[in-house]
């Protein structure tokens, strides 16, 4: 299916289909596979991932002093130190220390009840430059793009841009590396079909862009890069599909109308729901397609995504207190589907996308997709079940079924004297 010989067969099929279908098909079509996508987080430092820059003058949010955090939450120093001790058998090397969840008022679970603790504070972006799109059409609000365009709406970046997991030069933040490596190794595939009615793809007033998923995995070349020109069948999906109307001007494809779409998210939470979504994608001289897809995301699902990825692990690895993420997202939410007076349940966001030429086939694999259309009507119902590691997560932690004492508000923290003596003797 992925051979050049197969491609020759496909081209013949497209030619025939065009001849017989006539006006039903677009005048031109370009198809791509997304080889990299990450939140558009403008990096204002010269190098590294934590250095001070115009975006975050104090650099990335600093590593947390967890002993202090626990003591502020009411644990004694001895308890706090024992909770953070690698030798503590209640601290899983895989799932972290579950007791970390219970540091809210009256030792409430701060992951499921983040307001049970005061806002720990997450320093946001203070720079004026951001990548993304003008979602509200107002050039007086938002950031300025690196190329000088006004009105860039990206409050997701404003809220979380100094968080270590998102900060760094393009393709080098730890979050981007982690999720794109997973995608490129076969966890999911996103494909793009661009079609137009005009004669010149570079300048066309009637362009449609379809973003789909495929069950066909990307192939790496000998250098570890995603290989061009492989074939991918569109998978009709009940959720993951986005169709946007646009026009092209000198190869730059810009939305003409906002659309509500759902894409496969390069993150722990798989759903990237974007209301009033827009695109700004540019056809590159080398055949690639690069730019942004943006819109307003429901901010609470972003927070829940991190909680469900195991709160203690995320907090320890990414130098953040998750309640601070909750407060930061809520504070910076800037859109309500109910209108300007409604509660701000969504936050502006942009995804930075890089796609390379590929043969994107119709779901039945009979031909290269020659138009942008919705396949939701023929999509099977997607099961809602969570699989894998995260199916084990309950309220932000993975309970240890074999533990004699479970983490919780009333857990006994310190080990019996005999056990602690044994640990001390181990150190000697």
């Amino acid at each position: 299916m992925r051979s050049g010989r197969h491609f020759a067969t496909v081209i013949s099929a497209v030619t025939v289909a065009t001849a017989f279908s006539g006006a039903a098909l677009a005048a031109w079509t370009k198809t791509y596979v997304v080889e990299w996508n990450e939140p558009a987080m403008y990096y204002g430092a010269k190098s590294g991932v934590i250095d001070p820059g115009t975006d975050c003058p104090k650099g990335t949010n600093a590593e947390i002093d967890w002993i202090k955090v626990l003591m502020d939450a009411g644990y004694t120093r001895e308890e706090a130190q024992w909770l953070r001790n690698p030798a503590n058998p209640t601290r899983s090397p895989i799932h972290g220390q579950n007791q970390m969840a219970f540091r809210g008022k009256d030792r409430a679970n701060v992951y499921t009840n983040p307001t049970s603790t005061p806002d720990p504070g997450l320093v946001g972006v203070s720079g004026t430059i951001a990548e993304g799109l003008n979602l509200d059409g107002d050039e007086k609000t938002g950031f300025t793009s690196p190329t000088g365009e006004k009105g860039i709406d990206n409050n997701f970046y404003k809220a979380l841009g100094c968080w270590k997991t998102y900060r760094g030069p393009p393709r080098l933040s730890s979050g981007a590396l982690t999720f794109n490596d997973s995608m490129r190794n076969g966890s999911w595939t996103t494909v793009i079909v661009v079609s137009g009615r005009g004669a010149d793809p570079m300048n066309d007033r009637n362009v449609k862009v379809g973003i789909y998923v495929s069950d066909d995995k990307m192939v790496k070349d000998g250098n570890g890069n995603i290989a061009r020109d492989y074939s991918f069948r569109i998978k009709p999906h009940a959720k993951y599909e986005g169709i946007v109307s646009a026009r092209s001007i000198n190869g730059r494809i810009i939305s003409t109308h906002p659309a509500d779409i759902m894409l496969r998210n390069p993150a722990y939470d798989k759903d990237l729901e974007l209301l009033r979504a827009r695109i700004d994608l540019t056809m590159q001289p080398d055949g690639a397609l690069k730019g942004y897809v943006g819109g307003y995301r429901p901010w609470e699902s972003i927070y829940r995504g991190w909680v469900n990825a195991r709160g203690p692990v995320i907090e320890a690895l990414t130098w953040v207190q998750l309640p601070a993420v909750y407060y930061a997202l809520k504070r910076n939410a800037d859109y309500s589907p109910k209108g300007s007076k409604g509660e701000k349940t969504h936050i502006s966001y942009a995804l930075r996308v890089s796609a390379i030429p590929a043969y994107v086939l119709t779901p039945d694999a009979t031909r290269v997709a020659s138009s942008v259309e919705s396949y939701k009507a023929i999509a099977p119902q997607e099961p809602e079940r969570v699989t894998g590691l995260f199916a084990l997560v309950v309220d932000g932690i993975v309970p240890d079924r074999n533990a004699k004492v479970q983490a919780g508000p009333n857990a006994v923290i310190l080990p019996p004297p005999s056990a602690s003596n044994a640990v001390e003797s181990d150190k000697q």
Partner: protein
């Protein structure tokens, strides 16, 4: 009917109506002049083992590395995280740029990498392998004439025993997790000193052998009387019985004399802590015992785990475990890598170096034990920060009885890890022509390191 006897011959007969096996003493006709090799010209046996550690070695997202030498072929330079291999460098080949290829499966973090190396199959889930590990194939080929077909060792002092050796993909070996446990297994009850002048077959073994053999007729009758599904179950069960019969038969032979075999002293129970200094000390102690177990012909195949894929190890006094540090430590702008991660990776690799030095310190024949063995060292990830399964560090150490052209650095731009696995199998004589499935299927060993 004519009989030919050699040092492996076992006399078979009937005792009280049941079959018994009787080993033969080592006759002069079986040996050469100095006892270092058999008179029929057979070389000292080649042993094989895997050595696993968790969390890979340090790469950088920009392409830098702390372990991949720049020079390929013989005479590679020692990189910072390979410092511990300096003493045995000429007996170690380094393999870089090899990757596990998941095909249509997701990367099961801290699992897909070594599962692919060991089985040739990218696993569908993180709870099982999708085939047997190749160490068991090697054990079937070269491990049948020793007391144990395989020895599995876990030096990690983790909360749960760690082994990645499996015949079924679902049931993993039960490793020895303490030095004392390993000592008891190798040199405790049942151990027969090959250098003893007073060797006699152990009557208890003869009894067990007789008991096992006595059920053969009933076994055959039972097999004939059950359905196909039950026959498969019974066959799996009797296979294990047959393996035990073979092992018992081995113990009824007088073992070959072995100058290198010296009964070690029983170790004391050490501390149980996953701190890297304790794990490394445990590794060294268990390596000494294992080395002597190998030269005393207790086994020819082993698996050795230093730390699990999701390693629990930590530096004493730190509040973060190594695993966490690999993920959360930023790359230092000036250095271009994660300095603390790299420092601990060097500590972890120190154990591998110590392990090989122990193997190399045991004189055997005209060389050392390491010359007569092959150890495949490998990890679960490449760039651990993102659970990469590309550029997974792999090593082949030891002479494999003269088959391994060691001391080379082999680099590829993304070949499958199974090429290294296949090379290892062929170097120790396993009758395997190809290995792996899907994109990882290969019939191409790395001939540059094969004599």
């Amino acid at each position: 009917m004519s009989f030919r006897f050699d040092r492996r011959s076992v006399l078979r007969g009937m005792l009280g109506g049941t079959a018994v096996y009787m080993g033969l003493p080592v006759l002069d006709v079986f040996l050469n002049g100095n006892g270092s090799a058999y008179a029929n010209g057979a070389k000292l046996p080649v042993r094989f083992g895997t050595y696993f550690w968790g969390l890979g070695l340090t790469d950088t997202p920009a392409g830098g590395t702390r372990w991949v030498p720049t020079k390929t072929g013989p005479g590679y330079e020692i990189m910072p995280e390979l410092e511990s291999l300096s003493a045995v460098k000429d007996k170690v080949s380094v393999f870089s740029g090899f990757r596990a290829i998941a095909d249509s499966k997701a990367n099961q973090v801290h699992w897909s990498g070594h599962a692919s190396i060991l089985t040739g199959i990218a696993p569908a889930s993180a709870s099982r392998f999708d085939g047997p590990t190749f160490d068991t194939l090697i054990a079937d080929a070269i491990g049948t004439s020793t007391r144990y077909k395989m020895i599995d060792v876990d030096a990690s002092l983790s909360r749960h025993p760690v082994s990645y050796s499996t015949r079924t993909g679902t049931t993993f070996a039960s490793p020895e997790t303490t030095a004392l446990g390993l000592y008891t297994r190798l040199f405790g009850p049942g151990f027969q000193d090959p250098n003893s002048d007073n060797w006699k077959p152990d009557p208890s073994i003869m009894l067990r052998q007789s008991v096992l053999s006595a059920v053969k007729d009933q076994r055959d009758a039972l097999m004939a009387g059950v359905g196909k599904a039950d026959q498969i179950k019974l066959d799996q069960y009797f296979n294990s019985v047959r393996e035990m019969e073979n092992q018992l038969a081995v113990q009824l032979q007088k073992p070959d004399k072995c100058e290198a075999c010296v009964l070690p002293a029983a170790p004391k129970e050490g501390p149980r802590s996953a701190s890297v200094d304790v794990v490394n000390a445990n590794t060294k102690t268990m390596a000494k015992l294992l080395a002597m177990g190998l030269v005393c012909n207790q086994a020819r195949v082993f698996t050795f785990v230093h730390t699990a894929g999701s390693s629990e190890t930590y530096v004493a006094g730190q509040s973060k475990i190594y695993h966490q540090i690999t993920h959360d430590e930023p790359t230092d702008t000036q250095l271009g890598y994660q300095p603390e991660t790299s420092r601990i990776a060097g500590m972890v690799m120190q154990a591998f170096g110590d392990f090989l030095v122990e193997m190399n310190s045991v004189k055997e024949g005209d060389g050392t034990l390491l010359d007569h063995m092959l150890v495949m060292g490998f990890s679960d990830t490449g760039y651990a920060k993102i659970h990469s399964i590309e550029n997974i560090p792999m090593f082949l150490a030891g002479g494999a009885g003269g088959k391994h052209k060691a001391g080379q650095h082999i680099h590829t731009a993304g070949d499958s890890v199974t090429r290294v696995s296949l090379t290892a199998m062929q170097l120790v004589g396993a009758p395997v022509g190809e290995f792996g499935t899907g994109t990882m299927k290969t019939a191409r060993p790395i001939t540059e390191v094969m004599a």
